[in-house]
Assembly symmetry: C2
Homo-oligomer: 357 residues x 2
């Protein structure tokens, strides 16, 4: 179940995508909002496609749509999942998501943040294949990462997709990091709980995980803890617990659980769910879930301002014209970066007011 | 030797600082430039004080000064030094700097980046006390971190201080990270060589170093490798070498040296210097020193643009007026961060043009 689920002409990707966009434009705003609130996943898919569009007219409609859906959002548990490539994130999400639907009566949306992703039918099909069982459930909604140049763009679209999924009644939003590098910080800034999957192994292998990522985790899972890996998984678990003891005490009074899990043998899933439940109960009592969401909202306000400022600056005709020359002069050391920036700013603001630094 | 070295009334800090600023304003631009180019460290101090000033008239004069000094800058070796508090950065810089002056015929400027620093006479005196021998040499110039709210502000001032020090004939610029956290990245972005000092110890203790910091290092020094620490220092060295082997190969074809050093016993200093010399020779042949400086210049251009845009946005009367209300609405979930940002942008640009995101 994804944005192309109603597609019957899979061989013609781009023309079909245009057709979907066209169909979407024919829909009135109120039809779309109504469909989403009724939990129509086809409509949800179209709405997310709209939100991901970069066309100016789509942006305006998308803004209206988000505004209508906003009052119906915010009531889900937002869970981020990260881990190095090969740790089995998709398999885990498939197993964990299916458990949530079957045993916990949940509606699960899976989104992804991958700043490197390109528009390709392959990756969409790939996603379907990756989470086959989950994608067949009417209570699941799986959406690959929006394709976009900048992480900021991907992040905004994912944040808006969360709002739409929540308005459509999904009570568990799982956000997967796909790219490596910065996307962890981005996902962390849009979820309530951040889960780190680790491979069985210890010592040197753990050093492969950026320390900063460990510090972000609210819950750590040693994945693929099955078969020949069982002993190594226990070692890894001990190693992680030892590393965690070196951290300063968590002001939230939350002890980070370290669980062993096998998606293959379906072990550990229930323990992980109990940890998640405990985290949200504890977080709501202590108030840090709400507090975190407020901080995230302000963070995203500032990020959005920064992004819009950046875009309007570099798209400004005078700035765009001067930029290559000024950049060359700075790189060759003929003008200092600060003076160059001041000069470009004068072009941007259209006067010579001396902006204090 | 620092910005208050000519001060004979140490008890009256603030009035005296004002007096220095007043004196400085009486100097003509050409007098200042001439003094700096002649290597007058008193004049250099005043120039840096000017660069650190936030007053609009000072900013204009500072911009002129930097412009005049820029053609005389760029010919030093810029070395960043970092390490956890307690690793002995000041003692190391004192010993290393004195060695450079006495044995290598160098002129050494020591700057610091500490976004948390406040204007206080204490810290200035503290610096003098910390590097007593070095501060007494006429071939050394020691300057504490500019005090400023934002890391961006501290960074700009330090970058400008580098230009002034180079114009004054200092051929070795040492930049020390003082605060913890982000300042390492900032210092890395303004130096040619980044040196990491580590304490003797191994395993768990090494985990206290953020992995990202290890990855930034061009040269690693196990400091305080003396007395009872000798054995632990050897263990640490082996551990670091082992950790380094896990890294992907350096495209610059540079093998990161790991040296043992005692500032107390003055051992290892010469080896470190030979590594530094080798790094610069290798880097100039391979071209990565020059390439790195070009990338840094563009990075600082973009950073400066971002900072100026941010300031002009938040200082804009309409934006400043709307900000508290809009922020509150975003935090309370009544308006999405993206819509709020678009609305503030309209106030900023003064029209309703739909800026594409």
């Amino acid at each position: 179940m994804n944005d192309l689920s109603s597609d019957s002409h899979r061989q013609e990707v781009n023309p079909h995508l245009r057709q979907i966009l066209k169909k979407k434009m024919d829909l009135s705003l109120s039809q779309m909002v109504k469909g989403i609130l009724q939990g129509d996943t086809g409509m949800l898919s179209r709405a997310i496609t709209l939100v991901e569009s970069t066309r100016a007219e789509d942006r305006n409609l998308a803004a209206d749509l988000i505004r209508e859906c906003l009052p119906h959002s915010g009531r889900s548990q937002r869970i981020g999942i990260t881990g190095v490539p090969g740790v089995g994130k998709s398999t885990f999400i498939e197993t964990f998501g299916s458990y949530l639907i079957q045993k916990q009566n949940r509606k699960v949306a899976v989104l992804a943040v991958d700043p490197s992703s390109q528009v390709s039918h392959g990756s969409i099909l790939g996603d379907k294949t990756r989470m086959e069982a989950l994608s067949q459930s009417p209570l699941a909604f799986i959406r690959p990462s929006p394709s976009a140049g900048s992480l900021g763009g991907v992040a905004r679209k994912t944040r808006e997709a969360i709002i739409l999924c929540e308005a459509a009644g999904f009570d568990t939003i799982i956000i997967e990091t796909v790219g490596v590098g910065q996307s962890e910080t981005t996902v962390k800034s849009m979820v309530d709980l951040f889960m780190l999957l680790l491979l069985p192994g210890a010592g040197d292998e753990l050093q492969g995980i950026k320390k900063g990522i460990m510090e972000m985790a609210d819950l750590i899972v040693i994945h693929k803890a099955d078969g020949d890996n069982a002993k190594r998984a226990n070692l890894a678990s001990a190693d992680v617990r030892r590393a965690l003891r070196l951290y300063p005490e968590d002001p939230r009074e939350w002890t980070i659980p370290v669980e062993l899990c096998s998606s293959l043998e379906e072990t550990g899933i229930e323990d992980i769910w109990m940890d998640v439940e405990k985290f949200f109960r504890h977080g709501e009592i202590k108030g840090f879930i709400q507090e975190n969401r407020k901080e995230q909202a302000e963070f995203w306000l500032r990020e959005s301002v920064g992004e819009l400022l950046h875009d309007s600056f570099f798209q400004h005709p005078r700035v765009a014209k001067q930029w290559p020359t000024v950049k060359k002069e700075v790189i060759e050391g003929r003008i200092s970066p600060f003076e160059a920036a001041r000069s470009l700013m004068s072009s941007f603001t259209g006067d010579n007011s001396d902006l204090s630094v």
